[in-house]
């Protein structure tokens, strides 16, 4: 129980000459919601994609529940129990909502043919129950025809539907209205009771302070602060992000 769910040790990520992550030690424990804060270009999304397996580290080590692991593919991160809402949402505009929802994890029969009716109804269920967003009235709509917020809702619904032990949320409220944002924040803070931990990337420190247990501030690819809620305040955090 003492080993964190997921941990990075001295992780570095290079893009050519640019070091987007420089020796980052990061961890997340069971039933914990961690905020990941920092300026534009600090390396937050790079860390999220690294943990999701689509952007493997250049060097450094990863541990899941105390055991050394590699996360070099999406498959490996899925096996560890990671679900992600990517900053760019990772949806295919030319495909219907239900196809996006189940992309890579299609419900299918023994021959590999799709169980379409089932996937469509599950999609509509998820869209209207979890973090429901108005205006989507059919799972057959192309994602490219949705509004920015509706599109984000599809990405959220997908991660929420397949949620296991760890949910990574990279600016999931960037396109949402106030009402929808509040619903999502509410949902995230309720995750603790459901056995899911979360990493919440946001630029809104008030939102982060409201729902998170711990705050990690990044700057220029390094971790500069790692502090629990009891040890800090919104004002302190704001100063940390601004001065980092």
């Amino acid at each position: 129980m003492n080993a964190p769910l997921l941990e990075t040790r001295g992780v570095t990520k290079r893009y050519g000459n640019l070091e987007a992550l420089r020796g980052v030690d990061f961890h997340i424990s069971a039933n914990e919601i961690v905020a990941l804060l920092g300026d534009n270009g600090a390396g937050k999304s790079t860390l999220v994609k690294l943990l999701s397996g689509i952007n493997p580290p250049t060097s450094g080590e990863l541990y899941a529940r105390g055991e050394k692991v590699t996360i070099n593919t999406r498959q490996e991160s899925e096996d560890i129990g990671i679900e992600t809402i990517y900053q760019d949402m990772a949806v295919v505009d030319d495909m219907e909502i239900w196809r996006n929802m189940f992309l890579g994890r299609e419900l299918r029969n023994a021959l590999g043919f799709l169980k379409e009716a089932e996937m469509k109804s599950m999609t509509m269920n998820e869209l209207s129950s979890g973090v429901d967003i108005s205006g989507i009235d059919s799972a057959d709509q192309l994602v490219g025809s949705l509004s920015g917020g509706q599109k984000q809702a599809v990405a959220i619904a997908r991660a929420v539907h397949f949620r296991k032990s760890i949910l990574l949320l990279d600016e999931p409220t960037s396109a949402l209205s106030v009402r929808e944002t509040n619903k999502l924040l509410d949902y995230i803070s309720n995750l603790r009771g459901r056995g899911t931990s979360a990493v919440f990337v946001t630029h809104n420190i008030y939102h982060a302070y409201e729902i998170c247990d711990r705050f990690v501030v990044m700057s220029h690819g390094t971790k500069v602060h790692d502090i629990t809620k009891a040890e800090t305040s919104v004002d302190d955090l704001t100063q940390m992000v601004i001065n980092s």
């Binding site: 999701s52 689509i54 593919t73 999406r74 498959q75 899925e78 992600t84 990517y86 760019d88 949402m89 990772a90 949806v91 295919v92 505009d93 030319d94 495909m95 196809r99 992309l103 890579g104 994890r105 299609e106 299918r108 021959l111 590999g112 043919f113 799709l114 379409e116 129950s129 979890g130 973090v131 429901d132 108005s134 205006g135 009235d137 192309l142 490219g144 025809s145 949705l146 009402r179 509040n182 619903k183 509410d186 949902y187 309720n190």
Partner: protein
């Protein structure tokens, strides 16, 4: 789930208006990826049939011999176009399909002449066709090159290889009667090449629209990074599509060899561009991620309909280029407009 706002459910009373009647039906049809081509195809067929009825002496469109010629001619291009269209939806090209078409037919004829059964030689050469196309894909993806360029090289390479292994003279295709019956005979009134074309269209259609693999093909062609982020492997999916394109080209070459009874090494030139044309006319997006097999089927048929009409009207051959050339551009514009409608 936890809903702080209690009531908050603001589904706007239908902001979507649908037109009724024939207009509504047309709207719905045009919104599908094969919509444009279905409408165009039906209109052109209607025009031809009406003209054929009115001027039945001069314009012999409906004569049994004309229909039989068309049904024979369409599958050669059509089967290649199915594979090429499938690959284009995955976001890649293979310009070497015309050379694969000729190379595999020539080598197949040589193997049969050397004593191998056609029933063994044909599947073997279909695998070879798949392998050639896959090697194009492998090189393109391994070195991060556009497949357009790699397969352009392969087109010349394999065209040259035909002359290297066989020379320039035509070769007889002497497969067994049962083989010829299966690939060039007829099933009732319909010739076997057309039966194969039709069966492949149906098979590919269901794979693309209703099978997990087809779902991945659309995702990889539409947005490869998003596909990767969801655990789909673009490289793997694309390689299978390359294999399909090569296999289709080889099958088409073998079918036409069986039908004609001989192969000329120079045949197949230009088929790669016609196949892309058929796919584009059929609604496949040049950028990948959009298209349908029904569209490719009709696109191939449309190219031959136009060719046939021009022949019946005794128009000089270059008219075909003019018509098909203009049609490709129109079709590309129409595809683009459909794409915008979907929010691109």
């Amino acid at each position: 789930m936890a809903d702080t706002n209690g009531n908050a459910q603001a589904v706007a009373p239908s902001r979507i208006t649908t037109r009724g009647g024939l207009r509504g039906l047309l709207d719905k049809l045009l919104a599908t990826s094969a919509g444009n081509i279905i409408v165009a195809f039906v209109l052109i067929q209607l025009a031809c049939i009406i003209a054929g009825l009115i001027w039945s002496e001069q314009f012999r469109y409906l004569s049994p011999s004309n229909i039989s010629i068309m049904l024979k001619a369409i599958p050669t291009l059509g089967i290649i176009a199915l594979g090429v269209g499938f690959l284009m939806i995955a976001g890649e090209f293979d310009l070497s399909v015309g050379s694969i078409y000729a190379f595999t037919a020539v080598v197949c004829s040589m193997l049969i002449a050397a004593g191998l059964s056609a029933w063994l030689a044909a599947p073997l050469m279909i695998v070879v066709g798949a392998a050639i196309s896959m090697s194009n894909g492998l090189i393109a993806m391994r070195f991060l090159l556009p497949s357009f360029i790699v397969s352009l090289g392969a087109m010349l390479f394999w065209k040259g290889m035909i002359f290297f292994v066989h020379g320039a003279q035509a070769i007889r295709f002497s497969g067994s009667e049962s083989f010829k019956e299966a690939f060039a005979g007829s099933l009732g009134p319909i010739q076997m090449p057309f039966v194969w074309f039709f069966v492949l269209t149906v098979l590919f259609h269901f794979t693309l629209r209703h099978h997990r693999f087809g779902n991945h093909v659309f995702a990889v062609g539409g947005n490869a990074p998003a596909a990767t982020a969801n655990g789909v492997r673009p490289m793997q999916v694309k390689l299978i599509c390359f294999a399909l394109a090569g296999a289709c080209a080889a099958l088409s070459g073998i079918i036409s060899a069986a039908r004609v009874g001989s192969v000329t090494p120079a045949q197949g030139g230009g088929l790669e561009l016609q196949a892309i044309a058929a796919a584009v006319i059929g609604g496949v997006a040049l950028t990948g991620g959009r298209g349908s097999m029904i569209g490719v089927f009709l696109g191939s048929a449309l190219i031959y309909t136009i060719q046939d009409v021009l022949l019946l009207m005794r128009a000089p051959g270059f008219y075909l280029d003019i018509f098909v050339g203009a049609l490709i551009v129109f079709a590309a514009i129409a595809n683009q407009l459909v794409g915008r409608g979907a929010g691109k």
